[in-house]
């Protein structure tokens, strides 16, 4: 029950923090501070795993609790008009889920007999995808540009703050097709990014660098009747970690379907070892 008690106390404290001080200050944790904290967090988990000081994080209750927290986060955010993704309770819940995943992965390779690949792909995949979203959020940048028929480097953040890009964007041509009812069925924009011609359309962004993509999101007309393209620039240095996690999870899900449930007798044997509160002592004795 210690997992339930500690998680419960953390959630109550996080709710109080949210009420007193407002949302979690995501922005101050950008690179390199987030990398430093991630390293510290992993080292701390490894030490706690070796010293057996946080055995509650390996209990079955911790697994159920992590997933229940995930479900609660989904339900609460799903009910909100403007999801408070940076709220303290959300951040604490995600940190608890990630920490539990780390503990489970450290132990899992040894215990997940017969389904090791599936176990690793699903759990490490989830850790990478969720971890990149959580730790990488402060490094994510997003700007919008109204591309006209002249070069400009003026961009705006989603909060409306003005920024200047290190390169220019210019609309060369815009092409649109309509259905009989007038709804747009296709549109694309030929733009010049840093003197390079690029064609953008919905679902087909342009990768300017390994961490930066340029999207065509909409279009509009000036007072003079001239069409302009609304361009979005997304800089996400952690995107490859997320993509790796997602692909691992997809392969893990395929294995979940192919292999199905484990045989009951083996399952009970493994699970009883897996969730035994004394698993640390068993492992250290090599039984």
């Amino acid at each position: 029950m210690s997992a339930v008690f500690i998680a419960g106390c953390s959630i109550v404290l996080s709710v109080m923090t949210e009420l007193c001080f407002g949302s979690f200050p995501v922005d101050i944790f950008h690179f390199p501070l987030n990398i430093f904290i991630v390293v510290l967090w992993i080292v701390l988990i490894a030490i706690m795993y070796r010293n057996r000081t946080a055995r509650f994080m390996l209990s079955r209750q911790a697994t159920w609790l992590s997933l229940a927290l995930m479900a609660m986060v989904g339900i609460v955010l799903g009910l909100q008009r403007k999801p408070s993704t940076t709220a303290w309770p959300v951040a604490v819940s995600l940190l608890f889920i990630l920490s539990h995943l780390c503990f489970v992965i450290l132990r899992g390779w040894r215990n997940a007999k017969g389904i090791r690949w599936r176990f690793c792909l699903t759990h490490v995949g989830l850790l990478l995808a969720l971890g990149a979203g959580f730790w990488g959020a402060p490094d994510r940048e997003q700007w919008r540009v109204a591309a006209h028929h002249y070069p400009s480097n003026e961009a705006y953040t989603m909060e409306g703050k003005q920024r200047f890009l290190p390169y220019t964007i210019e609309l060369v041509s815009f092409h649109m097709e309509h259905a009989e009812n007038g709804a747009p069925t296709h549109y694309d924009a030929n733009i010049k990014v840093d003197n390079k011609n690029v064609t953008l359309r919905v679902n087909h962004p342009y990768s300017r660098t390994l961490s930066e993509k340029i999207y065509l999101v909409s279009f509009g007309k000036t007072l003079m009747g001239e069409t302009y393209a609304v361009i979005e620039i997304v800089k996400e240095p952690w995107q490859w970690m997320t993509a790796t996690g997602i692909i691992m999870l997809i392969v893990g899900a395929v294995l979940l379907f192919v292999q199905g449930p484990r045989k009951t007798e083996n399952l009970l044997k493994v699970e009883s070892l897996k969730f035994n509160d004394d698993c640390f002592s068993l492992m250290s004795e090599g039984k």
Partner: protein, 260 residues
């Protein structure tokens, strides 16, 4: 040829499915007539979807009505599969009734408008993402029907089928959610943006994961009702994710608005 012939077409499909399902209930062993009639009903449904696809000149997966059509089709498939594999005599009748409910909703409120496919949906991810999701919904629908029966009849022995349906359903649900995430990155620039539909998808996924992790501990114990209840709760969250969010105030801010 088009949507206007659906009521007549659906009546024939439902007649075949109901007859097959009734034979299955009446006969103790696996019955070939029941399987053949259900197979004909499934082929009939598949034929209508193919015809609609050709008429609309786009995959019929855009509107809520179109997803209901796929769900009815996959429910019949999942019901037949469960009957064939585990010989639960009642499952085809339950899945037929559930498919019938969605067919009746589609007749009363078709929501299949025109050939338009907005640019955001013109993606290679569109068909796999939606059809895989619909297939997982039908498998999890069958798991829910069996779980409800297990809750009602405490001594029933359907846990093996429920667990296999849960594993298969959860696998496809995960693939549907993850392909959606990869698509979202290409379309909107973010793998995950906590849109109301995405939030409910996470809640659904987490509830089914709880059931999956509960199984080894509570199966064959007096607490197995917890396992069945979680599956039923997961299915309720799934209904919220699929169409329930349209009735919530948070739907106004959703970017998944083309699905109404």
């Amino acid at each position: 040829m088009g949507w206007n012939i659906f009521p007549m077409w659906a009546a024939v499909v439902m007649l075949l499915a109901t007859t097959g399902a009734t034979i299955a209930v009446l006969k103790k062993n696996r019955n070939l007539w029941a399987i053949a009639l259900m197979l004909l009903a499934i082929l009939g449904m598949a034929g209508f979807i193919a015809m609609l696809w050709t008429t609309l000149e786009r995959p019929p997966l855009r509107t809520m009505g179109e997803t209901r059509l796929w769900y009815s089709f996959f429910l019949l498939v999942a019901g037949l599969f469960t009957y064939y594999r585990w010989q639960y005599r009642w499952i085809m009748l339950f899945s037929t009734v559930l498919a019938g409910v969605f067919i009746i909703i589609n007749i009363a409120k078709p929501e299949i408008h025109d050939q338009t496919l907005m640019p955001a949906l013109q993606s290679v991810w569109f068909v796999p993402h939606v059809s895989v999701y619909m297939f997982s919904y039908s498998l999890l629908g069958c798991a829910t029907l069996l779980s409800t029966m297990a809750l009602a009849r405490r001594n029933s022995n359907m846990d093996m089928a429920i667990e296999k349906l849960l594993y298969a359903g959860l696998a496809f649900l995960s693939i549907g959610m993850l392909t959606g995430s990869l698509w979202a990155k290409e379309a909107w620039g973010a793998y995950w943006s906590w849109d109301p539909k995405e939030s409910w998808a996470v809640a659904t996924w987490a509830l089914y994961l709880i059931a999956l992790h509960l199984a080894p501990s509570v199966m064959n114990t007096k607490h197995r009702w917890l396992y069945h209840t979680t599956i039923v709760l997961g299915f309720l969250a799934l209904q919220m994710c699929w169409y329930g969010i349209n009735y919530l105030p948070s739907a106004e801010t959703s970017i998944h608005t083309y699905n109404q």
